[in-house]
């Protein structure tokens, strides 16, 4: 059985049963639910030999989860989660019940959004050039007084690179602080990765209450206007893939 997600029933199993009527999973298999107390697992019967790990199946899998997330609070499973029988699924739910419930409470009625901020690094550094040049002069003078060799050129080059990185990181921190301050009112949970690549300066994730998504969109829209040299790419709403913290034991 391919497992798609674990759903919070919220005392209404009939809603899930009705929603799954006619819904299809990977390879056009019928979706149905296995129930245990206040939770259920959405599954479809799939022969092992047919479980091909390709992008078509992975996207079909993700599509099922995103459709379910529009109606239910859920924990999305990673692609490839399989258990052999209904009995094993019930046993898995029984063993992990409290961990599952805790995680469902954490993401109850919330969406995940992703934000990537891209920039032309050279352009940003050029805008910061005045400060860099001023630092360069001080540093070069100091080096000339103390060094006189090829080594000095190498040190100068390294120092310049280091200062560029520092300047860029400082700039990124300013933007993150700005985003964080503006999102404070939304009471969201945020995760930031800085300088993921030379051009992706921020890779952020937000978990926030479903009714607040328009506020997030507004906030990021304001940031776009404030930083015209940066490219803000906001995606979502997504199921809370990045905010579940559980490894389920069979």
């Amino acid at each position: 059985m391919m497992i798609y997600s674990i759903i919070s029933l919220n005392k209404n199993p009939e809603k899930l049963k009705a929603y799954l009527q006619g819904m299809k999973g990977i390879l056009n298999t019928d979706l149905y639910a296995v129930f245990y107390n206040e939770i259920a697992v959405v599954v479809s019967d799939l022969k092992r030999a047919n479980l091909v790990s390709d992008s078509v199946n992975a996207l079909a899998y993700g599509d099922v989860i995103e459709k379910l997330a529009k109606q239910f609070t859920l924990l999305p499973m990673r692609f490839g989660s399989v258990l052999e029988s209904r009995e094993l699924i019930i046993s898995m739910l029984e063993k992990n019940y409290y961990g599952i419930i805790n995680n469902l409470q954490k993401v109850d009625n919330k969406f995940e959004f992703g934000l990537k901020v891209f920039c032309d690094t050279e352009k940003v550094l050029a805008e910061l050039k005045i400060k860099l040049e001023s630092d360069d002069k001080t540093e070069t003078k100091s080096l000339k007084e103390t060094q006189n060799s090829v080594y000095r050129d190498w040190v100068e080059k390294k120092l310049k690179e280091h200062r560029r990185e520092e300047q860029l990181l400082s700039y990124v921190n300013t933007i993150i602080e700005d985003i964080t301050n503006n999102l404070e009112k939304l009471d969201s949970v945020s995760k930031f990765k800085k300088m993921v690549t030379e051009t992706t300066i921020i890779d952020a994730l937000f978990l926030l209450d479903k009714p607040k998504k328009e506020d997030l969109v507004q906030t990021i829209g304001d940031m776009k206007i404030k930083y015209p040299g940066l490219n803000f790419v906001l995606t979502g709403p997504w199921s809370p893939y990045n905010f579940v913290d559980i490894t389920i034991k069979e």
């Binding site: 497992i3 674990i6 092992r48 030999a49 047919n50 479980l51 091909v52 790990s53 390709d54 992008s55 992975a58 996207l59 899998y61 993700g62 599509d63 989860i65 995103e66 924990l75 999305p76 499973m77 990673r78 692609f79 490839g80 989660s81 399989v82 258990l83 898995m92 995680n103 992703g114 998504k213 328009e214 969109v217 507004q218 990021i220 829209g221 776009k224 803000f232 790419v233 906001l234 995606t235 979502g236 997504w238 199921s239 893939y241 990045n242 579940v244 559980i246 490894t247 389920i248 034991k249 069979e250």
Partner: protein, 69 residues
Amino acid sequence: MNHNVVDQSKDITILELLDRVLNKGVILTGDIVISVADIDLVYLGVKLMLCSVETMEQLKLGKSVPEKL
């Protein structure tokens, strides 16, 4: 919703969704079974699911899998 702010281009949506279903979400411990073209049935440890579709393609073509996996 302001469509100028939320990116809805197909390519980005696909990439973001693939990243999530392949690399995130709840992990079920134990072995999983995947069949890859030309290899009828392959038993893989769940850690291997951290790999991307490209890595699976490498497996399919008989190329070596990066050590980190």
